[in-house]
Symmetry: C2
C-alpha cells in the first residue's frame, strides 16, 4: 500500500461532528464534548439535522452550511444515513473520516456492499477513513479527542479492535504512570488497516511504544513489515493477538498443516518483525513499561540487587528459570560493595542486608557500583525500597531523592535497570520511573520483560522476507513431482524409479541394486498405512512386498529407491504451509510421533535462509538429539537447514502450493536426505 498522510486524522486543522447530540446519555454528545476540548487550536463544528444548541454551541443542520472546510469529519449517525454522510463529507472537502457508525461490514449482507462502495468513494477522493464501527481517535499532543474513551496523556500508542481492551490497557498503564500518546479504534478496517496505523504511530514523535490489540490481521505481512519498520526506528511494538484458540479446527492434509497452527503463524511473523507478542492486557502493559528505559540489554548476564533474602532468592529462581545468567561478582566489585557497607552480601543476588536501613543512600551506592562495573548486561533492583517513604515525611524525601539518583546512575551507565517494588506506587518508585527505570508491581513481570529484551537482542532477526516473483505454476502434486521440484531446488533425495506394476518394481530394483526401499504411491500417509517396505535384499523380497501392497492398498504404482542407511541419523520434518494472512510459512521440527505430540516445532516466514533455519532447529526443545546428547555424534544441522531453506524458496515461489513437506528428512553426521515428499495444491 502506498504511504498516505494520516495527519488530517490525528491533527486536523478543523473538525465537524456529524450526529452531535445534546442528550448526555448519547455518544453524539460524548464525542462532541471531546472534540470541543480541542477548540482552542482548531475549528470545531457540531452538526445535527435538527440544529439547536449543543453543549452551549450553535449546531449546524448540514455540512454544507459550515463556515469552512472540515478537514476531519466524525460520523456518529445510524447506518441508514451513513452513505449520504460520506458523500456530503467528501463534497465539503473532508480529508479524513472517523466512522463511528455500526451495522455495516461487521454484519453479513447489504452492509458489506455499502461499506465497500463507500471505501471506493473515499479513496477516489484521496481521503482516508477509520472504521466504520469504531470508537474514535485520540491524540494527546494534538489535543484531539473524538472518541468515547478518556485517556491520561503519555507515551504509549494504542491501536485496538476493542474499546474495552483499550480502556483496560490505559488503566493498567496509568497505574504505572504511563499515559497514552495516541489511540485509534480500528473498527472494521474498511479503509485504514492496522499496518497503516502502526506506520503512522511509529512516525509520531510523542509515541515511544505501540500497543496493538488485533483479532483480524488482514494483510499479515504488511502488518509485520510495519512493525519491523517501527522497531527499526526505535519504537517497541507489543501485540496482543486474540482468537488463537478458535483456529484449532482448521483442516490440514499434511503433518505440517496440522502443526503450523494459526497461532504459531502469528508467532513466526512477530519473531521476524521483532514485534513482542503477548496474550493478555497486563502482559502488554508490562512490556510497554520497559520502553521507559533508555538502554536495552546487550547480553544475558544479570545482577540482582535487593534488601532481604527472600525477594532475592525468588528473583534468582525466576531469572535462572528464564535461562538468563547470574554470574558471580568479581573480587574487585565485591570489595567495592563491602567498602560501601560491610554488611552487604556480595553474592548474586546482592543483599544489602540492613545497609539500606542504615543509610538510604547505600541503595544508590551499591546499585551504581554494580551498574558501572561493566560486569553485567542488566540489573534487577527489587525488595523493600519505597517502604521507608511510608513511615514519615523526612524518610520519604530522602528515599525519593535516592530514587532519582538511582535512575540517573542507570541513565549514565549505559545499562538497563529494571525494578520491582512492593511499594510500587510510592514516591521513591515514581522517582525511579520518572528517571527512566521501569518499576513493576510483580517480579515475574520484571523478569519476563527482561528475558524478552535479551531475546530480542540475541535474535538477529532476518526481517520480514518478500515472497518474490512467482515461478510458473506446477500442476502435478504426486510423489515424483514433489521430489523432482524439491530436488531441482537443491534438496538431496535417494535415487528412485517409478514402477507401475509389481514386475516393473522388481526390474527397477534390480537395476538400482539391492538393498532397496519400496513405497506404494497415491496414499495419504504411506507409512501409517503399511505402504513402505525397507531393506528389501533381493528380487523375491521386492516381489513379495509389492504383491502384498498391491493386494492390500491398490496403489497407483510404486517407487523403488536406493536404501538410505539411517544408522545414527535423526528424522526431521520440514514443510511449508500457505497462511491466508501471513503467506508461506516454513516449519522445522523433529520427526516421529513423540515430537509431533509435543508440537516441538518452530516456524518462520518463507522464504527463510539457512542461517535462520539452523538457529530454529537448534532452538527446538529436543535440539540435544541433534547436537550430541548422551554421546551421540552431532548431526549435520546445517545440511538440514539448507534443505529446509530450499523447500521454503519453492513454497514462496509457488502460491498454488497450499502445503509442501519433506517428512522425514533424515539428518546424519554426514548430511541430510529427503526420505519422503508431499505437495498439496491449494
Amino acid at each position: 500500500m502506498r504511504v498516505r498522510d494520516l495527519r488530517p486524522l490525528f491533527d486536523p486543522r478543523s473538525v465537524a461532528v456529524l450526529g452531535a447530540s445534546d442528550d448526555p446519555a448519547k455518544w453524539g454528545q460524548w464525542i462532541a464534548a471531546g472534540a470541543l476540548r480541542g477548540a482552542h487550536r482548531r475549528d470545531v463544528w457540531l452538526v445535527n439535522r435538527k440544529g439547536g444548541q449543543i453543549l452551549g454551541q450553535e449546531a449546524y443542520r448540514l455540512l454544507a452550511e459550515l463556515p469552512g472546510e472540515p478537514e476531519l469529519v466524525v460520523i456518529s449517525l445510524p447506518a441508514a444515513a451513513f452513505e449520504q454522510a460520506i458523500d456530503d463529507s467528501l463534497a465539503v472537502g473532508a480529508r479524513a473520516i472517523v466512522a463511528i457508525t455500526a451495522g455495516l461490514g461487521e454484519l453479513d449482507g447489504a452492509g458489506k456492499d455499502l461499506e465497500r462502495r463507500v471505501v471506493e468513494k473515499v479513496r477516489r477522493a484521496g481521503a482516508v477513513m477509520i472504521g466504520p464501527n469504531c470508537l474514535g481517535v485520540y491524540d494527546a499532543a494534538a489535543d484531539l479527542d473524538v472518541g468515547s474513551n478518556k485517556f491520561t496523556p503519555g507515551t504509549m500508542g494504542i491501536i485496538s479492535q476493542s474499546g474495552n481492551l483499550a480502556i483496560e490497557l490505559s488503566l493498567l498503564a496509568a497505574e504505572y504512570g504511563v499515559g497514552v500518546s495516541r489511540f485509534a479504534s480500528l473498527g472494521n478496517q474498511a479503509d485504514i488497516e492496522a499496518a497503516e496505523l502502526v506506520e503512522a504511530f511509529a512516525a509520531d514523535e510523542h509515541t515511544r511504544v505501540i500497543g496493538v490489540y488485533l483479532e483480524d490481521f488482514r494483510d499479515g505481512r504488511a502488518f509485520a513489515r510495519a512493525g519491523a519498520a517501527a522497531v527499526a526506528a526505535g519504537k517497541q511494538v507489543v501485540l496482543l493477538a486474540a482468537g488463537g484458540s478458535e483456529a484449532g479446527a482448521r483442516a490440514a492434509a499434511s503433518h505440517t498443516g496440522a502443526l503450523a497452527s494459526d497461532a504459531v503463524a502469528v508467532e513466526a511473523a512477530c519473531r521476524a518483525a521483532q514485534i513482542q507478542l503477548v496474550a493478555t492486557p497486563k502482559e502488554l502493559v508490562d512490556r510497554a513499561l520497559a520502553s521507559l528505559a533508555p538502554h536495552r540489554p546487550r547480553g544475558r548476564k544479570i545482577a540482582i540487587v535487593g534488601d532481604g533474602g527472600g525477594t532475592g532468592v525468588v528473583t534468582a529462581d525466576l531469572v535462572t528459570e528464564a535461562g538468563l545468567e547470574l554470574p558471580s561478582l568479581s573480587d574487585e566489585l565485591s570489595g567495592r560493595l563491602t567498602d560501601i557497607a560491610p554488611s552487604v552480601i556480595t553474592a548474586n543476588p546482592v543483599d544489602l542486608a540492613g545497609a539500606g536501613e542504615q543509610d538510604f543512600w547505600n541503595f544508590e551506592r551499591v546499585t551504581s557500583a554494580i551498574l558501572e562495573s561493566g560486569e553485567f548486561d542488566a540489573v534487577i533492583f527489587t525488595g523493600y525500597f519505597g517502604g521507608y517513604s511510608q513511615m514519615n515525611e523526612s524518610f520519604s524525601a530522602v528515599e525519593t531523592e535516592v530514587g532519582h539518583a538511582i535512575a540517573r546512575a542507570a541513565g549514565t551507565s549505559g545499562r538497563p535497570l529494571l525494578a520491582q517494588a512492593m511499594y510500587w506506587k510510592s514516591s521513591p518508585a515514581r522517582a525511579l520511573r520518572a528517571g527512566g527505570v521501569p518499576v513493576y508491581r510483580d517480579i515475574e513481570a520484571t523478569v519476563d520483560t527482561l528475558r524478552h529484551l535479551v531475546g530480542q537482542y540475541e535474535a538477529h532477526s532476518p526481517g520480514v522476507p518478500d515472497a518474490g516473483e512467482p515461478a510458473p505454476p506446477i500442476v502435478g502434486d504426486g510423489y515424483f513431482e514433489s521430489r523432482e521440484l524439491l530436488a531441482a531446488a537443491g534438496v538431496p533425495f535417494a535415487t528412485a524409479r517409478r514402477a507401475d506394476s509389481v514386475e516393473a518394481a522388481r526390474a527397477a530394483a534390480a537395476e538400482l541394486g539391492y538393498p532397496v526401499a519400496l513405497k506404494a504411491l497415491g496414499l495419504l500417509h504411506k507409512s501409517d498405512a503399511g505402504g513402505v517396505a525397507l531393506g528389501l535384499a533381493d528380487d523375491a523380497a521386492v516381489l513379495a512386498a509389492a504383491t502384498d501392497m498391491h493386494e492390500r492398498l491398490a496403489p497407483e504404482g510404486f517407487s523403488v529407491e536406493t536404501l538410505v542407511d539411517t544408522t545414527g541419523g535423526v528424522e526431521l520434518i520440514v514443510g511449508c504451509r500457505r497462511d491466508p494472512r501471513f503467506g508461506p510459512l516454513v516449519l522445522v521440527g523433529l520427526g516421529g510421533v513423540y515430537a509431533e505430540l509435543l508440537r516441538d516445532v518452530r516456524l518462520a516466514l518463507a522464504p527463510a535462509g539457512a542461517d535462520e533455519l539452523e538457529a530454529l532447529f537448534l532452538s527446538l526443545r529436543g535440539a540435544g538429539v541433534l547436537t550430541g546428547a548422551r554421546g551421540r555424534a552431532a548431526a549435520d544441522v546445517r545440511a538440514a537447514a539448507e534443505a529446509a531453506a530450499a523447500l521454503s524458496r519453492v513454497a514462496a515461489a509457488h502460491p498454488e502450493i497450499a502445503e509442501i513437506e519433506i517428512n522425514p528428512l533424515l539428518v546424519t553426521p554426514a548430511g541430510a536426505v529427503g526420505l519422503d515428499a508431499r505437495i498439496v495444491l491449494g
Copy 2:
C-alpha cells in the same frame, strides 16, 4: 512430632518484652509498642536492664521482678545475652518464647551449639520457641502484635522465612481487600518448624487460607502431612518454595537421580498434600484470593460472561489454553438470556453487548441465569463492570448494589464465580469481594487460579504416604541383585543367567534357547558403552559378541537373557530416589534420549499405588505414545504402573537405597517387562 499447644504463642494471657527500648529507631521499641496494643486484654510488661520509662510505662529491670508470670516472653537481646534470657524466662514460668535474637544457628560455629542447647532446655520445660533470628508473631483476633511488620486484619495466615516477603504478601493481599489473620516468622526453626505452624494455623477459626514462604523444609513429609490435614479441614495452603534453582548441581548416578530434581520433589509432595505450589508472591496472593469464594468447581465446564468482545475473546483463549472447556449454552439458556435483553450474544463467551449499559441489573440477571442453569462448573465474569461507578454517584450506587446481588446469586447457586475487573478497586468490585466473589486485577490470574481449583478437584490425591516399616537392608547393588529384589516385589523381567566367562555365556545361551540378549556387567551405562547386544541367534553370535565386550570393556561378567520382542512396545523409565527432605520419590517417564532432554517425567511420594502411577503416566506430555497416537495399539499402562508401584514399595522399604531404577521398562499392549535394573546404595 507430638501435637503441642501453641495457644501461649498466639494468644498469651501475659507478655513480657525482654530488650524493650525507648529509642524509636530500635526494634526493641517497635516490638514493645506492638505488644502494648494488646494491653487491654492481657498484662504487658516491658523489661530493660536499665529500667526507666519506655513508651510511657515503667520498665522492669529483671524478669524476676515482674508482678506475675509472663506466659509469652519476647527476647530482643544480643546473642551474648540469649541463653541467660532463656533461663530466666523458663524460671519465671514462660510457656512460649519469641526469639528475635540473631547471630545464632544461622551462623556456623558456636551459635549452632548454643541454639541446640537452648532448644533442649525449652522442650524440657514443656515450653515452645519460635526463632531465633525471627521477626515475631501477629494474631489479629488475639490483638497480639510482637513483631516488626504491620498488618491489616483479615483471613489469610502467613508463615514466612523472610520478613520482606511477608510484607509483600500482606500488601498485595490488602490491594484485594484481603487482610492477615495471623503471621509467624520462622527464623531458624530451631524448635517450632513450619509443619507445626501449619497445624496451628489450620486450627485457627479466623484463618481461611495459609500462605507459606519456605526455603528450608526440614522434615518435608511432616510439612506435607500438615498441609494435607489443613486442606482436609477446608483451609487452602499455598506454598512459595524458594531456592529451587540452586539445587541443579546435585550429583546423581542414575537417570532417575538426574531427572528427579529437588524442585520436582517439592512438586510431588505438594501434589500429594493438595498444597498449591507457586513461584512468586503475586501468585500466592492470587491463589489465596480464591479462598473468598464459598464454592469450588466440580468439573471443567466454564462459562465466560462479559461486556465487549475483546476481553471475552482474550479470556476464551486463556481458558482454552489452560485445558478447560467452553461448552455452548443450551437453547433453553440462550433463550432465557435473550429474554433478559435481546442484544445479548449467547455464545460462550457470553457478551452483554450493550445490555449492561442499558440496565446495570442485566449484569446480575444474565450472570444469575448462567450460574443457576447448572450447565457450567464455574463462571468467569470479566470486562468493564465497575467502570460505571467512576462516572457519577448514582451510577456508583446502583452498580454497587448490582455487585452485591451478583455475589448473592453466586452464593446461592452452589457454583464458584471468579471475576476480573479493569476497575478492580472500584466500589462494585469491592461489593463482589465482600460477598465472596474473588475479583482479580488480571485475567491470567483468574484463569490460572480456576485451572488449579479444577485440577485440585480432579486430582483425587492419594494423600501423603507413610514409608512403613523398613525391610532387612540389602548389601549387594549389582545387576542381578537389583533384578531379583524387584522381581520378588512383582516386577516381571526376562529370564536371565549370569555367566562369568565368554564360554559360560555361550553355554547359558544354549540352555535358554536362541535368540538371546547379552549384557556386560559392572558398567555404569551399559547401553551407552556398547555393552548390550540384542538378537544373538546362535552360538557363534554369542561367542563373537561376548569376546568383543570382554576385550573392549573388561566386564565383571555377563548376563545372558531370553530376548524380549520389543515390536510395538514403548520404552519407559521408572525409578526412585531418596530425597533428604521428602524421603523416597518414585519417578515415571517415557524412555529415550528425547524424553529425557525434555524432562517429560512425573514424580510421586513413595510408596505410591498403581492407580496414582497410572494417572501420572497418562499425564505425561507425550502420553499419546502410550494411548494409541497415530493408529498405534494402546500400551498396557496398568501393567507399567503396577511395576512402578512395586518398585516404589521396594524403595520405601529400603532406606539404604539412594537410587533404584528400571530403565528401560518395556510396555506393550500385552504387559510390561523390565529390560534393565540398577540400584545405587546410599
